[in-house]
Symmetry: D2
Subunit: 309 residues, 4 copies
């Protein structure tokens, strides 16, 4: 295989303040497909074009935020190898048994210096995307139910020590650094965008004092016209928008940031370019974070740096 | 690295019947960036958003067609490893010294059973995409000069023995089979789409009696609106269109097929989904090749199966 | 009023070979809104964003084709004035009483030299577009049910004597000639596009030996992306496509032509420019009808000139 | 003619603080076509797809703002008739001789109760849109030079007494009221959108204490993708954006508002629906002005109500 090791973001577990409200939002407004509920009361969703059983899990809790963010790896051997590599690197890993999450195999969990729990797993039941495996049509009714993203694309996490986090992702997990924002003095990074594929980001981090915070989970749309439609649907449902529709300078992607009813930010996203591991990192100076965030307006919306869950 | 081994299509060398006519077409109509000419009279081009020195090389010859199709691999160690693997598999490989192609390192060349010359290489000079490495803007004037694709995306080659070709690509080079079209009896494949990444195809093959033929080189656009613009520019320049604008059922991509002045087919393409190595292959039956090729019209354009260079 | 006299295409009555099949097609595939059925067995539809009660009426008959094509005029005084003008011009007019068509006022009907029945009317019940009159949202679920055009845009009719037809439309009804295609000898027109507004066409005619034929009714979409979606939906429903997706050179509009189950051609259309009465007519020579029809392919699809209902 | 009387916005004359800076902005950034300069030092522009000689005139002055906003009427007889009608209504009109503005016939000028100078004229030299009148291509290089709108679409003016203004436009000039925003008490209008065609607005007014103010001139684009591109070009040229990219609830149009270097707001706009004179006015309550202005964000940007030139 040419695409080995860590393949892609697999699932994230998010806390919501009211489960029914959360189900309504993620199923009917964002337009995910509900695929199951477990005995712990967790509710499982996938994007319509994803084939694995789940990519977003919500549970009710007293405060919003993210429990863990997971990547699917190529196979069981890869999982064991990466577990060993992480331990050899000095991280403590934990094995969560298969079945703890519905239709999901054994997970290797570890905490990174930003205070986030990251997981790796090799197995999740393929339930298909609702299109036939033989002579499929290109889309179906689920493509137009709610915002209807095609994929859980990436996450942006806020916490301390992102230089150490970057080392783990690049030296152990095989990611490469696609873009970065320098600190005001230019000596370090305040933000990093990391890829394990040829996406502009599979995960990103911003340096932040408080550990373990969620900035947003991002869901992929297929066109700028669908970003407009997402904005319309948000408004029809009075979903509070943070930023957008606009283009990011960083990644070139086109976006709307908004909040779920519990205050978890999410992104509906499209575009960006396709970097490869041999690509040199693009650098943004701190004073150009405005256009980096909101390219047309060249504006550093304050909420981007301060509001997390 | 999670994306290792063979990374992506790197370059193809195409024969044109008249060099000046070819230069005009690829530079001014397709809108590639000319990056050099060598002592053999070859002319080098790249797509505007590519960072490496070249991705398409043309040379004048008595008949159209493709000389070789090359992939960039992660690094020199990978190149040596894949060379050894190919030889161990029983293929004869040849080393082309660095510098034979401008700004390109040593290449490992081998012939596959379809009669095509495939190359691997690890080094090609990064000349950048014309945007700054620090605080880049998202595009520049080259994005709108001619059709202006962002990337040499993939190729479709016609020749015999594609079952054997598939084995080499999947068992030695790390590709996976994304989609396929069955033979009328359903016992084999008449067409295969192979990926070394999470693109729907990095290379594809159709079973064909005559070896070493080119069906098309494909160039990536960013939107369906740019496909329309490409069609306008083709018409303004009287470029003969084969098929499109339309959507493929196979890969879901949106396309125009047309011919360069020498009769080499090319594609201006956008869209498709993003498969991963754990994805099950999608299958098309032979009787559904019509919608597979031209989804709206459900039509198997005869030229698709018969006209190659 | 600055926009007076004849305002816009109002309704067309089309014959289908099987009513249930026709209802299914126009309601579920094309995505019109069914608004009523009358005692004659006719079924009434409107496009979702239209406000008047109906714009397309179908009835079962032994052969496909069009019964009549109607324009809404500003008011009752205009209707009477135009009736008098038509009679003064030498045409015979007939009054169809209010209520003959559901929710539609008195109609003035006349036959034009191409053998088509044209109607004028001033009143049709406003039923709204399903959005509120106060603080409306921009669209609703009907916008995404089937192809879901926003408006019955124009018709193209085939018949003899289009020079005489043009005189009636321009000299009596206040239309202007937006574009035309010359006869091979350049002495007359084989096709004319006429506007009573600032659309590129409210009605068009092609010279044709057989009188009273329908080439197509055209339904407006809002973007090129919706044209692609229309093509997908046609394919999912095995609707036979004639031409497209493509751009017309004539009018610059973007289009798919396809046939309803009875063989009536229809068009899903977007774009074009906005001409005004002071605009000089654009002219196409007969030898350039290919790019005029299918701009990317520069191709005069034979069916365009020969297949009518 | 069905489209008679006042046809469309014809030209506006805008004051800029620095002529060279203004020329650079309107020609190179907005991408208008410069068509002439007169002995008074005024510089004339048109949008690339307009056929008449000019639609925007700039002159240097000590303060920004608008000198006059003009409509083209059908012909000289219409001009004389409307002049008489305006005087009969009680307005004072003035005749500006042909040639005062380059390539423009006699103008009838009058002041409306909001303090703006409105002009009517029947003649302006047709210089064409740069495409042939016979067998035209759909666009040319001017379509992609700068933001490159296709048309000067409408204006929004701020001043007192808009109820009186509305009466003049609807009772004398033949406009109809497409949409309106109510005053907080619901007894009057704070904003009105008026059409003389089937556009959602040819001119609009907001009630404002200070007379004669310009909110924005609006330039039409062809797609939401072009609105994104406009935003990119604004950012590349550090043009300050006020609002957008976003969709208006009012008119459904998609927009960016930004300022020229002198502080005159302009809009790059696409979309909206097509109302006719028989359409009932849509009403917005004052508390819903937020979604009316910025539908996704449901936000009443303060600058919209306060910053004018």
């Amino acid at each position: 295989m040419a695409l080995v090791g860590v393949m892609r973001p697999g699932h994230a577990q998010i806390r919501v303040l009211d489960l029914e409200e959360g189900i309504h939002f993620y199923r009917d407004v964002l337009g995910l497909v509900e695929t199951g509920r477990d005995t712990q009361g967790r509710v499982y969703f996938k994007c319509w074009d994803e084939r694995d059983h789940n990519s977003l899990i919500i549970r009710q809790a007293d405060r919003a935020g993210i429990d863990f963010f997971a990547f699917k790896v190529l196979d069981k051997a890869t999982l064991d190898k990466l577990d060993a590599d992480l331990r050899a690197y000095g991280l403590k890993t934990e094995r969560i048994p298969a079945g703890d999450l519905l239709e999901t195999g054994e997970r290797v969990r570890f905490e990174i210096p930003s205070g986030h729990l990251i997981e790796l797993y090799a197995d999740k039941t393929c339930v298909g995307n609702g299109l036939d495996m033989v002579n499929p049509r290109p889309w179906n009714a689920n493509s137009e139910r709610g915002i209807a993203p095609i994929r859980f694309d990436h996450g942006l996490l806020y916490g301390p020590n992102i230089a150490a986090v970057q080392k783990i992702f690049t030296e152990v997990l095989g990611f490469f650094l696609v873009e970065r924002v320098l600190t005001p003095d230019g000596k370090g990074n305040v933000a990093i965008w990391l890829s394990c594929s040829h996406k502009v980001h599979d995960i990103a981090f911003v340096e932040h004092a408080e550990p373990g915070k969620l900035h947003h989970c991002s869901f992929l749309l297929e066109s700028w016209e669908e970003v407009l439609r997402a904005g319309d649907i948000m408004s029809m449902n009075k979903v509070p928008i943070d930023i957008g529709p606009t283009r990011h300078g960083i990644t070139r992607g086109c976006t709307i940031y908004a909040w779920d009813p519990s205050g978890n930010r999410f992104e509906t996203y499209m575009g960006g370019y396709q970097p490869y591991p041999d690509y040199q990192t693009l650098t943004w100076t701190f004073d150009e974070l405005g256009p980096g965030l909101d390219y047309p307006q060249r504006k550093l919306h304050e909420t981007f740096l301060t509001v997390v869950s």
